[in-house]
Symmetry: D2
Subunit: 306 residues, 4 copies
């Protein structure tokens, strides 16, 4: 990709979007931002970003537009506008060479709908959901899982490289979302499976630290044992050792598991473990633990009677 | 441990026990073997082992006895004998300094029963189930997960080190069995969860190789993606790429999941994922796939209608 | 309801809609029918129905419109039309006193969308999904589970009474769909739970007929034991005793379980049993059994190795 | 059966055994009782029973022995004695014509072991676990599910008919236990499935009473909707409408589900729903709800955040 990006529009400055945009500003790019919360905009302006009166105004002269929004309906509304209400979308206002990157975690169907509409207008669109949490957003070490054409994926390297470390190309538009929810569904299964295995070990007199050390280098080895042990006081500096504060909230895992089940319904797939993990996480959230870190599912297995 | 082992008795020369005993012979130890199958004994004798007319005779002068048997009832019978039938057990015939190592994968309760009886006679007993399969047994690269006293664990290092690579100390007698079935239960959850995630990706148009590469280095990372991908033709030289031949049989996973559920019942533990994995594996075995490698659970999710 | 219905429009003459419409004709009502399949229309005309060139033409002079379509998108398209394509919907063409009854089994969200649009135009709409299968449709003994206003529910009695026996009022528009999928989700759980319980009894030497007789009148009693035993040769004249032919197809149960999981996602509900039943039914369908009766899930638990 | 029972020994006078024995006394039989708790014995003596210094003494002259004990190990110990400790069992002391009835809910393997030992001594033994709870025990309306020979079953009618209403013959010795746990496993599935279905209805705006009425007479109909609705205030006089007090405790359901899983392991059966129900009930008990009625599993699905 020879053309260098100079103008970036960043729309959606929440817990993730804010620090992501900040890293672009710090890297020397010209960044114009928009968010419905003036406070969030002000913080970016303080760092050197420009503000705009609307998302469409922010995007008007951009070489790249990056969006970071809560759900599929917001993404569809922002990109497609509303013909009945005579409201233009981003696709109606951006320059013809502008690359569109949506980093929201949303349903694949919405990503595909926007991607098709972009293609119909000759625009390149890429879905690039992230993992790595707010810490990764701040550190510029996010993982991006991208769906889009080879051309769009190549064009996106420059800006994504500023905000993240690993950048993957999962396939065509929508594939980024699918790959991310496959991964996060599997993560939830690892977390629940590891939790119940550790608790069964504890119930039978084993030291969870010893058991974790054994399983970590055996065939039970997985990311949660490596980086994110759910049993309190096995690892330092993980949420389970800090009363399950910080990290990735149960409510967000419930959201991602909902997306995974939507995808499973759409493709008529059978995901017994993922579906069971969703039920357990929903029960956990409904019992009032939605704001705890998702490794707190361990507490569903612990014996409160002891 | 200063005392060097010279005489080993090895009882149970099946698919695992045979090559394990062979490695001890090759290492220069004096090994006396026993098995109910004369053929199995003959093969070890050919390599230089001595044979005995019974397990008790084999064990009579041993510094270490190693046993590798199918199930708890065999282990109990061999070590404890049968008072009503006036039949002596290993515990009645071994020398007072003899170390007893049972490498069978059995229920923890049986291991604990034998361990207590050994202790009552002043003998050291260790349960040391293995993982690594027949390939690991042949290569001398098994993993041993041990339960027993610190003293017994130290004494066992020499012989276990000849047969295996990783040697873990999980806790007191029985802890080896518990740790192993916790690990294998978790492994089954990883295998099922990875299978359904990959198939959902495929159903949504993703390349399973690309998806595996992404998840392997993301938070879905686990042993099965690293070493044992269940989707055909993603990795070379794994059972899934060889029509699920070889490897670790479904029937053996069903056995281990049965042991894990026995332990869960005994300790009143809740293991929803492990219990579900067991049901899926039993269904798979009952449909006639018990002799396939356990990664063939992937086929439960594939779409045969296409 | 004093006003007597004289003109009925019936749209969608498939396996269910055809015999339902036929019963209305036989009851002496003036019925105008429409279906995309001319053959289906011809059969009704033979019985005395009128045909129309389009759904909208059929509905133009009707006192009641009844629709029986495969999925939510068909219902939305038919009632709402397509503004962009300048295509009118039923709501645009029916008389102001016309009662609209949709008997399709669809997602509640679609039913609510159509219901709101109808209300905005001053029309009464009722969602009235059925149970009872093709046999019930032919016999005029269907169960209708209705969602809509008290007024609409009262208006619907006359025609529904011709096609069915039990008529329930579940609540406002959409409640009929929700109640139906709650029921069918529960039915799938009863079927799977009964199947595994009977097979466990058989595996332990019990006669499934004796066990069924005991559980039927005990606390395990449920509709499947009463009317639809899944174990072959326990009851006469049920699909399980006829090689699982006839009855309610696995593919249709998969569809209904998909709708139930859509509803669970929309309301953030936890349905571990329903989700598990869906996974098991999808596996069953993917193994090539989609056209069998849904009681064939029993075969997932039987031991093919024996 | 011509021989009339005159002497009954009743051993185990707990919450169930006490009122059962009382009904035999009230019916005019000569009943000799034994229990480790003198208080329990005293209550029966007050009603007219004789007491004995030991179980064996109570049984010595009995025509029928009835036992009601907590677990398999108690039953095995009582009937078989302990040869090593030179302790006689019931089988060693009863008259040759004496009928042995164990009404405990225990594992089938223990029942079969005792049954075989009885047969070897020419004695008739029957396992006859009950359902109906303490209320049924007091009212003499228990259900007995019997395993044993036709002769033993016929002999048992007289005494069982005094204590209960429905008496079933499930098969040979052990079949009573198997049938009971099949039934109770299925009951747990009905209860969980009904709970999640009702809550999903509520989450979508339905009145649980209306939904219950619809499902009760539809294909979701089952014993819990008929007699024991888990949603508060749908039915009067059930535990759910009395803060889940009384009824059948969660801890007892956990015990029965443990027995069902033991049987599933022994017969290598797959019971995905029963295993999941067990996990959910264990979680519920571990969260401190073991003493509530088992219909309180409904609370696992309710939304505490509202």
């Amino acid at each position: 990709m020879t053309q260098t990006i100079t103008q970036v529009a960043f729309i959606g400055l929440g817990n993730m979007g804010g620090p992501m945009a900040a890293n672009l500003v710090k890297a020397g790019l010209k960044v114009t931002v928009f968010d419905l919360m003036p406070q969030a905009v002000a913080e970016l302006v303080k760092l050197g970003a420009n503000s705009a009166a609307s998302a469409n105004e922010a995007a008007a002269n951009a070489d790249v537009v990056i969006t970071m929004l809560p759900a599929g309906k917001h993404v569809r509304g922002l990109y497609l506008g509303n013909a009945q209400a005579d409201q233009q979308g981003l696709l109606d206002v951006v320059a013809s060479h502008c690359l569109l990157i949506d980093s929201s975690t949303i349903d694949a169907a919405s990503a595909q709908l926007v991607g098709q509409a972009a293609k119909a207008k000759g625009l390149e669109f890429i879905d690039a959901p992230v993992s790595g949490g707010t810490a990764g957003a701040a550190a510029g070490s996010l993982t991006f899982i991208c769906g889009g054409s080879d051309k769009a994926y190549a064009m996106a390297q420059e800006v994504l490289g500023i905000m993240g470390g690993n950048i993957f190309h999962a396939g065509d538009v929508g594939a980024g979302q699918i790959a991310k929810i496959c991964n996060n569904m599997l993560l939830s299964v690892l977390m629940v499976g590891t939790s119940e295995s550790l608790q069964m070990g504890i119930d039978n007199g084993l030291d969870p630290k010893v058991l974790s050390d054994i399983m970590k280098v055996s065939s039970g080895g997985n990311w949660t044992l490596e980086k994110y042990n759910p049993c309190p006081n096995v690892m330092d500096n993980v949420p389970s050792s800090k009363a399950y504060q910080g990290g990735f909230m149960v409510d967000l895992m419930v959201k991602d598991l909902g997306l995974s089940q939507e995808a499973a319904l759409a493709s008529n797939s059978s995901t017994p473990m993922g579906a069971l993990a969703r039920s357990l996480y929903v029960n956990h959230a409904r019992q009032g633990h939605g704001k705890l870190d998702f490794s707190s599912i361990f507490e569903q297995f612990a014996n409160k009677n002891k």
